[in-house]
Amino acid sequence: MQFISTVKKALALSTGIYLSSLALSPVYAQSDIDVRKIVKESELASYYAGDDGRSMARMVIVDANGNSQIRQFIILRKDIEDGKDQELMVFFSRPADVRDTVFRVVKHTQTDDDRWLYLPGLDLVKRISAGDKRTSFVGSHFFYEDVSGRNTELDDYELVEELESSYRIKGTPKDPATVEFDHYFVNIDKATKIPLEVDFYDSKDRLYRKVSAVKVEEIEGIPTVVHSRVEDVLNGGATEMQFRFVDYNLGLPNDIFSERSLRTPPRDWLRITN
């Protein structure tokens, strides 16, 4: 049976989840499963949980030689519209040389995102031009696109296999020149719709990059990835990311997503206690 589906954006980043979402374009499926519906649900589960969210995140970046680095930050997220535009702010606290740096993104699904970086040493609000999103996010193995979500209209999708508890779907870029991968496979959990594993293959059909949800917990009734991992399979090295103090539907006001919060972080909304 033929399914013709297009899925809007897999814009991303719920307070905790940073795995690529998927979508499908013309797809020839093996069964009556509506792949588009799965992907749409996965996108919302991964990146649009609740109306807003807050989380503290820590990354440990380990290079091929075993040297480690750390990044710690608080993320505030607010959906302007489910499945569409989002406001994001990332407040860094570690390491010392990026402490107090603040990153602001207004995620657009129809145009390029707006991005700003506040550099406290210069009191400078630096606007960042649109760039390749498949480059490192703050020096980690996560890509900016893993964090903010890959536009699902950029890939074609195909249901490969229905497993007992997950769907295995293949993604292929419409314009291979714009990305470093040839294709990828993603496993989406049937119950939670969370993408559990994404395996990226290069043009020589080698598995070179693996993104996985290591631990999923139910928080405020919402299945949430609280530990994820990106592995550089060919060169070695990996980044693990854990989330703590995840909270949804805090009622974050619109006006904290602003230049004001770059220079003066909204302390009332960043105050996290046990």
Partner: protein, 437 residues
């Protein structure tokens, strides 16, 4: 800047050796750190004092800067810069007032001085739609990249040309800043009770053109700073993705630009208005900015001892050229007004600036895949003055503690009396080692 001379250091070499051995010890300790420790459950909140008022944490860095002249100078030794610096920073919350401290202590070998300075010593308080920040602080606004049309906060040109970190281009102001945020507009009001000048070029580090003798010179001087206040205002708003801002400044020219009745160099009065816009365009960012600087003490341009009024205009564009390689270009015009009067009344019309000083800049920034290695090239070229300045810098950040930076400042020009041309004998290369903690 109020550098505090504490003492003449006499154990420079020994201090340096001690400092380097401390740094080496630290790098070994870093390598021994177990990854598991980084997941320690207990310190998530401790590391985040902005959200946990009970946490008191001091961070900062130690840094060594060594700079060498590439060209010989008849006025200076081969050492262009030699700093040993300790930065300490902390923040704490008391009754909803946030206190922030950033102190720099450094030994400047070129001046032979041990100096201490605060880059930040502020109390901040937020109420309703207002943020109030008072004390010594770094202030920046405007859209230019190393070009300032409406930003009349103090710059430290000595640091900028000597290889210190980019952040030292901005010198602190002792000021009060009130920011208001409203649905129609946002506003920043800055009051500087006592004028803060730039850290302008003097003969301490640099040789430059001295119009009084018509030649390159390295005079050590301190211009006579007015005891008066400054006011700076910015009104801004973002419409869709376009950032719009209007600016006002009332104070003084920031670098010495006038000679007073006693023949002393000083700063004349300045009032400025301006406007800027920045917006995404063609997969990049475009910015436009303009300002009108009214020289209040010489608005007709007839006084040859005081700068004339100016009109400044900037157009810039930035975009990613290839993955991880970003390029940007700027075109800048500085038009001297009442130019006929300037030339007519000048005692040395041959040394006066061009009526239209034009400047172009190009920046290329590259980083490798894991962002440990960075390269940056920034060039200024003035078609009107036929002079150029290249800032070349590469840095390597192997881990969260270490940062190694190698760079060069290259000046050249057809004439000795142009802005960059006068600095030709000050070309330098430098190395910086920074250990963050």
């Amino acid at each position: 800047m109020l550098p505090l001379t504490l003492t003449k250091a006499s154990y420079r070499a020994r201090t340096l050796i001690f400092f380097i051995s401390s740094l080496s010890f630290s790098v070994n300790a870093q390598q021994a750190t177990e990854t598991d420790d980084l997941w320690n459950d207990d310190d998530w909140l401790e590391e985040t004092p902005e959200v946990n008022s009970n946490a008191f944490r001091i961070t900062g860095f130690g840094e060594i800067l060594a700079g060498q002249r590439i060209t010989e100078s008849e006025f200076h030794s081969d050492t262009s810069a030699a700093d040993i610096r300790l930065r300490l920073e902390t923040k704490f919350d008391f009754n909803d007032v946030l206190f922030s401290v950033k102190s720099d202590s450094y030994y400047d070998h070129v001046l032979g001085d041990l100096r201490g300075d605060f880059r930040d010593l502020t109390a901040s308080y937020s109420f309703n739609s207002f943020d109030l920040k008072a004390g010594r602080q770094i202030l920046t606004w405007g859209t230019g990249d190393f070009l300032f049309l409406n930003d009349f906060f103090p710059k430290d040109w000595q640091s900028f040309f000597s290889g210190r970190d980019d952040e030292y281009l901005k010198a602190p102001s002792d000021s009060v800043k009130l920011s208001g945020y409203f649905s129609a507009l946002n506003i920043d009001l800055v009051w500087v009770p006592e004028f803060d000048s730039d850290n302008y070029l003097t003969g301490d580090y640099y040789s430059f053109f001295n119009p009084q003798i018509g030649n390159i010179d390295a005079p050590k001087f301190l211009a006579d700073a007015p005891n008066d206040d400054e006011i700076a205002v910015r009104i801004y708003k973002t419409l869709n993705s376009t950032e719009l801002a209007a600016y006002f400044y009332d104070g003084f020219f920031k670098s010495p630009n006038a000679v007073d009745d006693d023949g002393e160099l000083t700063f004349s009065r300045l009032r400025s208005v301006g406007f800027s816009a920045r917006s995404p365009w063609q997969n990049g960012l475009v910015n436009i900015e303009t300002s009108y600087l009214r020289s209040l003490d010489d608005s007709s341009g007839r006084n040859p001892l005081i700068s004339n009024s100016q009109w400044r205009f900037l157009l810039g564009y930035e975009r990613e050229l290839f993955t991880r390689l970003t390029g940007s270009a700027q075109i800048y015009l500085e038009r001297t007004l009442n130019y006929d009067n300037l030339i007519r009344f000048s005692a040395q019309p041959q040394f006066e600036p061009e009526e239209n000083r034009t400047l172009t800049t190009v920046r290329l920034s590259w980083r490798n895949a894991n962002e440990k290695l960075r390269f940056s090239l920034f060039t200024f070229y003035s078609p009107s003055d036929e002079d150029t300045y290249w800032r070349i810098q590469s840095s390597y950040r192997p881990n969260d503690r270490w940062l190694f930076t190698l760079g060069m400042n290259w000046f050249d020009g057809a004439a000795e009396d142009t802005f960059f041309g006068q600095l030709t004998d000050n070309k330098n290369a430098y190395l910086r080692l920074r250990l963050s903690f």
